[in-house]
Each structure stands twice: as structure tokens, then as C-alpha cells.
């Protein structure tokens, strides 16, 4: 079953109960849309998108806080996608249009450079992301300490993957997971074994080619309803992950309750700066809820309860040019990906 045809044959021959398989990572969502993977699957096997876009998960209260910091005179540094996400009021782009200092950066080290060059201003990095990104913020803080840069802050909305997967497993509607390759590169493929055992479901770490995703689907279908954890991205993902990255996360951050759009608050599902680094924190704890925008169904999209096209606003009221919800804004958001790829309108 190494050829694409062989794998498709295997999937089409599946005659067990219907399976909902979740791809957790936004890049997997993009690869699936691009390759038309969904339309190749038999009806009994559904590939649903999960909560793998940190920009989409950010609470309105978090965006509001960033805008407030910008309005108070801080320089707010952010990755590009987050700039367009609206809180209960406007977005960071709106704040910039009103004259606030909002800078787009490609890495936390770029934000630190802004702090270095503006010693009289407070520079706040909008620290969103999963375990993949968490170490990069920690390294920026380490450099800030080493260089004695005292005007650098993080506003964190960092997410830990496993507690969210646990919540989705407990909910019971997902039958198997294509685990995200680049989160797994940090946390390691072994991390999924306890979840697989506890909930009797397969988890397969996959790389980002369509063939690799297809192989993950075949594995999951063959191992459906069993406790199985596999790794098809072993060239990059090691069983125990990246020890240096884990150590630097551990040095600066500790787990705490975090908000996930669509799943609400989940214990220990976020990273927050440890107490001894609180002078670097811009007020990250407790930014949980906030006013969601009207009819946006992002919460259902992020948990696989709805596919993007099932949202009544998809493509009409809500488009990438005039996005209602974050899932349409972000390059990794399922709604935006489906819209851009004109994805299979078949669910």
C-alpha cells in the first residue's frame, strides 16, 4: 500500500462504521484542500479540521487587550495574521489606522530588536502559538535578560496541544487524529501514546505532503477504535521531541488555564510566564472570553462540528476581503483555506 492508488483503494474498501478523522494542523488543512484529498475519500471517511490555528483561537478579550496596550502608548509587535483579527471592538490594524504603534514582525527576535532601538517605549509582543512557537518567545526573553533590555513584554495566548486533544477525545466525536508534525517536532511523538491508550483512538504524526497525509489516513483507518500512536514524520519528529526546546519552554513558562474558541476554558492548556519573570508579562492571565461576533461559527469550525461551508455566512457575508471571524482571516484558518481553494463543497 505504498502507492497513492494502493492507499486510495484501501480507503475506498473500508466498510466499517463512519469515521471522523481530524487533521489538527492548519498546514495539513491547506495541504488537504490543495490536493483535493477530501473529495477522494469515500463517504464513510470524513476528514474534519481541528483547532490548529492559534490566531483563530485567540479570545476577543486578548485582541482587546492588545489594542488597549497600543492605545496606552506601547509599541505592539505581532505576526501578520493576527493584525486583522477583530476583538469585540476593532483589530490591531484599526488601532494602527488610528495612529497607534503596531508593528508586523516575523519573529519574536524582531520584536526584541524594536525594543532595543526604542528604549524609552514599552514593546509588547503578541505571543500566540503552540509548543512550536513557545520556545522562540522564551529565547527572545533569554536574550532580553542577557542584554538587560527592560522594556520588552509578552502578552501571551500560548496554547498546549495535548489538553485540547484530550477535551476533543472526551467529547467523543472524533475517531482518530492526524497529529500536527511541527508541534510534534517539539513535544515528541511519544506524547500521543497516553491519549491513545486512555481513549482507545489512533493518533498518527504526519508530515506535509499529500502522500504522507494519505498514509496517515490509511494507518488511522486500519487502527480505528484501537489505542495506537504512530509517527510517519520520523525524519523530523523524534520520540522525545527537541530536548533543548522543551527545556527553554520549561525554564520560562508554566501551564495554566486557557481559552479556546469553541471549547471554552481548558485547564492547563496554556503557557504563562513563571512568576519570577512577571516583569516581562503585559497582563496575560484571565483574558478568557469577550464578545464574539454575531453569527460567526468559528467555534464550531475549530472543533470539527461544522465544516466551513456549513456556516451560513461562508462566502457571502464572510470572505477573506471582508472577514467576519478569525477562521476566515488567518492563512491557517479553515474557512479562509476552503474559500481560497474553492475546496470540495461536498460535506
Amino acid at each position: 500500500m505504498t502507492t497513492v492508488e494502493g492507499m486510495l483503494k484501501l480507503l475506498r474498501a473500508y466498510d466499517g462504521p463512519p469515521l471522523d478523522i481530524m487533521e489538527v494542523c492548519g498546514t495539513h488543512t491547506a495541504v488537504a484542500a490543495r490536493s483535493g484529498l477530501r473529495s477522494l475519500l469515500p463517504q464513510r471517511i470524513r476528514l474534519i479540521s481541528g483547532p490548529g490555528c492559534p490566531v483563530c483561537l485567540a479570545a476577543p478579550a486578548y485582541i482587546d487587550k492588545l489594542c488597549a496596550l497600543a492605545q496606552e502608548g506601547c509599541i505592539v509587535a505581532s505576526f501578520g495574521d493576527l493584525l486583522k483579527v477583530r476583538g469585540s471592538g476593532g483589530s490591531l490594524l484599526d488601532a494602527r489606522a488610528q495612529g497607534c504603534a503596531v508593528e508586523m514582525v516575523a519573529s519574536p527576535m524582531d520584536a526584541l530588536a524594536i525594543a532595543r532601538h526604542n528604549p524609552q517605549r514599552t514593546v509588547v509582543m503578541a505571543a500566540v502559538g503552540f509548543e512550536t512557537t513557545a520556545p522562540t518567545y522564551a529565547l527572545a526573553l533569554r536574550s532580553a535578560q542577557e542584554e538587560g533590555i527592560g522594556n520588552f513584554r509578552l502578552l501571551t495566548a500560548l496554547k498546549r496541544l495535548l489538553p485540547a486533544l484530550e477535551a476533543l477525545c472526551a467529547d467523543g466525536s472524533v475517531d482518530g487524529f492526524i497529529a500536527p508534525g511541527h508541534v510534534a517536532a517539539i513535544i515528541g511523538s511519544d506524547c500521543f501514546t497516553p491519549l491513545a491508550r486512555r481513549f482507545g483512538r489512533p493518533f498518527v504524526v504526519a508530515g506535509f505532503t499529500p502522500e504522507n497525509m494519505l498514509a496517515a489516513l490509511c494507518t488511522i483507518v486500519q487502527k480505528a477504535h484501537t489505542a495506537f500512536a504512530g509517527n510517519l514524520y520520523a525524519e523530523v519528529v523524534r520520540p522525545a521531541g527537541n530536548a533543548k526546546a522543551l527545556a527553554v519552554i520549561e525554564a520560562y513558562f508554566e501551564p495554566g488555564e486557557a481559552y479556546w474558541r469553541g471549547l471554552t476554558q481548558i485547564p492547563a492548556s496554556g503557557f504563562y510566564l513563571k512568576d519570577r519573570y512577571k516583569q516581562y508579562d503585559a497582563g496575560s492571565r484571565g483574558l478568557h472570553g469577550g464578545q464574539e461576533r454575531g453569527d460567526c461559527r468559528c467555534g464550531d469550525v475549530l472543533t470539527g462540528r461544522l465544516s466551513p461551508v456549513q456556516c451560513p455566512l461562508f462566502g457571502g457575508v464572510c470572505t477573506p476581503q471582508n472577514a467576519v471571524g478569525p477562521c476566515m482571516v488567518s492563512a491557517e484558518g479553515a474557512c479562509g483555506i476552503w474559500y481560497r481553494e474553492g475546496a470540495a463543497y461536498d460535506d
Binding site: V31, R34, M109, F130, T132, T133, G207, F208, E332, R340
Partner: protein, 75 residues
């Protein structure tokens, strides 16, 4: 968001690596990996997060280039 791009290490000094992303030369943080010139790394948010084999690096680079082209076309 967790998108990570492969690059070839050109040189490395004090935790910073000069890398080549299919022709674009940039400096990235290399404090999370043990690498030498010639190795391929996965770069995320300005930071090398893992070492990778040349074959995988090529596959991933091609795929990301294609995804990016499509996203740009449709904008």
C-alpha cells in the same frame, strides 16, 4: 502558524546561523539545534527548531512554495 520552512545552513556563530531559503539568505536563531554548515534545518518564527534530511527539506520547500503561490493568486 506552526508552518516551518526548510533552509540550508551556510555558517553558524554564537547561536546564530546564516541560512539559505531557496536563494534567500537570512539569519536565524540556532540555539535549539546542534548543526553544522551544510545541514538542513526547519525554521519557524525566525528560529531553527529541528534538523532535517535534504530529501524532506526539498519536498517540504516545494510544497510550501506551491501553497504560497496559490494563496497569492487568489488574493
Amino acid at each position: 502558524m506552526c508552518i516551518a520552512t526548510p533552509a540550508r545552513v551556510i555558517s553558524i556563530k554564537e547561536g546564530r546561523a546564516k541560512v539559505d531559503f531557496s536563494g534567500n539568505i537570512m539569519e536565524v536563531d540556532a540555539r535549539l539545534v546542534d548543526v553544522r554548515a551544510g545541514d538542513y534545518v526547519l525554521v519557524h518564527a525566525g528560529c531553527a527548531i529541528e534538523v532535517m534530511k535534504p530529501q524532506q527539506a526539498r519536498e517540504l520547500a516545494d510544497l510550501l512554495a506551491e501553497l504560497e503561490r496559490l494563496a497569492d493568486d487568489d488574493r
